[in-house]
């Protein structure tokens, strides 16, 4: 089976073309005669590393890191859910920390190192967190899953670094990767299918293995 990105016209491109066709008749004949509107797009250079590969972009300043990843670099594993930082579907790891890629501009990440779901594992060699999700059926529709997995991987790094959470009983004691801790620390990732119990099981397994 061909890789979807190798097809002449994939589903995404089809939607883009369809959208453009629909928009054309709405544009007046004089559209091109108008002066550039106030607030015309501004391009800015930025260069950063994604999954170990360097990318140099000249990009509209308004472009979020999420849109840069998906629309410019075609790394569509990272998902756009709410686009307002509430759902966590867009979670990626930047310089070792999980963030909402929808709430940050691409141009703000000069020389940053970004890891997306594509950089964590491949279909042939799953990341342990991905394998645990498969074993525990940690998803239904799968849309939140890349964000859940990036978030979960970075969460265990936070626990190892001794960062406390809202449910940590003693702020000065070592942090333990308990189920309660995992649930609190994953509250920025919403799963509307409600696969939470299986997601937590997968993460508890990973946490137990990492001690």
């Amino acid at each position: 089976m061909p890789n979807p990105s190798e097809l002449a016209l994939n589903r995404r491109d089809l939607m883009v073309v369809a959208g453009a066709c629909a928009a054309l008749p709405a544009m007046g004949a004089s559209a091109h005669a108008q002066p550039a509107p106030v607030g015309a797009p501004v391009l800015h250079d930025v260069s950063f590393e994604v999954n170990g590969r360097r990318h140099a972009l000249s990009i509209d300043t308004r472009t979020t890191l999420l849109d840069a990843l998906r629309e410019h670099l075609h790394l569509t594993g990272t998902k756009k859910g709410c686009d307002h930082g509430q759902c966590g579907a867009c979670t990626v790891i930047v310089d070792g920390q999980r963030i909402n890629s929808c709430l940050t501009l691409a141009v703000m990440h000069q020389n940053a190192s970004v890891t997306t779901i594509e950089g964590l594992g491949t279909a042939d060699k799953l990341h342990p967190m991905q394998a645990a999700f498969v074993r525990h059926d940690g998803f239904q529709c799968g849309y939140c899953t890349p964000g859940q997995i990036c978030s979960g991987v970075a969460m265990f790094d936070e626990i190892r670094a001794g960062i406390p959470s809202h449910v940590t009983a003693d702020l000065t004691a070592a942090v333990v990767a308990s189920e309660t801790e995992i649930r609190e620390r994953m509250s920025g990732n919403i799963c509307r299918c409600g696969a939470y119990s299986n997601i937590v099981e997968a993460m508890v397994e990973i946490g137990g293995r990492q001690g």
Binding site: G85, I99, N100, L105, M155, P164, S165, S187
Partner: protein, 316 residues
């Protein structure tokens, strides 16, 4: 989102100078609140000054034994700092009670102080809102006001300040350091950073155009039982209906500041004077002059009960 030009500032004074001459310019650090508002065209800056490279991201111990927290210290880093966890537990707790891990990893100390209200009418550009569109009216007064303010509010605006961190810093007598375009610096007590809404709720702080927060200072530790109790609709990742930051000493005296009820972190010396008489007396003093709506009147007894729970915990 409206188009904007973008620059990376390389010194605090240069950032302030770049912003001072352009009322349409905004600083951007974490961006977690500003970008959200820009997508909705509630904020429409024509120029962004990225301050992330300013190296204001360290926490230093000061000569008087306090802390100087750089404006760009991320919320996660501040909450996890060993000195904060040991000596300013209420601040660590408040930070960890706010937002999600992803947001705390980006959100900065100064940005947290300057975040805008989450009043639903401020966010809905189809509705009048005096804070967003001065003079257009307040939709919240007769609308859905369950989350909104009960004290320190005005006829023009009943929005709350949404920060948890600022509530703890208020209890700890934090002060804000700034730099202006002419490179002069000044120190503002946190109590004087946020304005009362009055008839001009769109004016939220006492900062001048272009004035940049460079740090927050905390005085030397005062010990005591340090507690942050946040009451909200979900167990995690929700704004406070009522929150209490408390530093209670062994003799029952102490300091309290509240979140979720006012346009700024709410602290009352009169209430602190009543602390040893219990939650009922302290809450009555604290809520003197409160003017809730029908929908948020429940916050008055909730303040007393939350305070009562905090005082019990402090005695335990």
């Amino acid at each position: 989102m409206r188009a904007f030009t973008y620059e990376r500032a390389n010194s605090p004074a240069a950032a302030a100078a770049a912003a001072a001459g352009n009322p349409e310019a905004k600083f951007i650090a974490g961006g977690t609140n500003l970008l959200d508002l820009m997508k909705l065209q509630i904020e429409t800056p024509s120029h962004l000054i990225d301050v992330n490279g300013l190296k204001l991201d360290t926490i230093e111990t000061t000569d008087d034994g306090g802390l100087r927290i750089g404006a760009l210290v991320r919320n996660t880093a501040l909450a996890a700092d060993a000195r904060v966890r040991r000596d300013y537990g209420v601040l660590s707790r408040a930070l960890l009670a706010g937002a999600s891990a992803q947001l705390r990893n980006r959100a900065t100390t100064a940005g947290n102080l300057l975040q805008r209200t989450r009043c639903p009418y401020f966010y809905d550009t189809a509705q009048p809102c005096n804070k967003r569109e001065p003079g257009s009216g307040c939709s919240a007064l007769g609308g859905f006001s369950r989350q909104l303010g009960v004290i320190g509010v005005s006829e023009a605006c009943i929005a709350t300040h949404p920060s948890d961190m600022a509530v703890a810093m208020r209890a700890l007598d934090g002060t804000v350091e700034t730099v202006k375009a002419d490179a002069t610096t000044r120190t503002i007590p946190l109590a004087e950073l946020h304005r009362a809404p009055g008839t001009t709720p769109h004016l939220e702080t006492t900062l001048a155009q272009g004035e940049l927060i460079t740090a927050v200072r905390l005085p030397r530790p005062i010990g005591g039982r340090q507690i942050y109790r946040k009451v909200r609709d979900r167990a995690s990742y929700a704004f406070a209906l009522v929150s209490v930051a408390a530093v209670i000493q062994r003799d029952g005296s102490g300091r309290i500041a509240l979140g979720g009820i006012a346009p700024r972190p709410w602290r009352s010396e009169a209430a602190e004077a009543e602390l040893r008489r219990g939650a009922k007396a302290a809450a009555a003093a604290l809520l003197e002059g409160a003017r809730p709506t029908r929908e948020n009147a429940f916050k008055l007894p909730l303040v007393e009960r939350t305070l009562s729970a905090v005082l019990s915990e402090a005695r335990a």
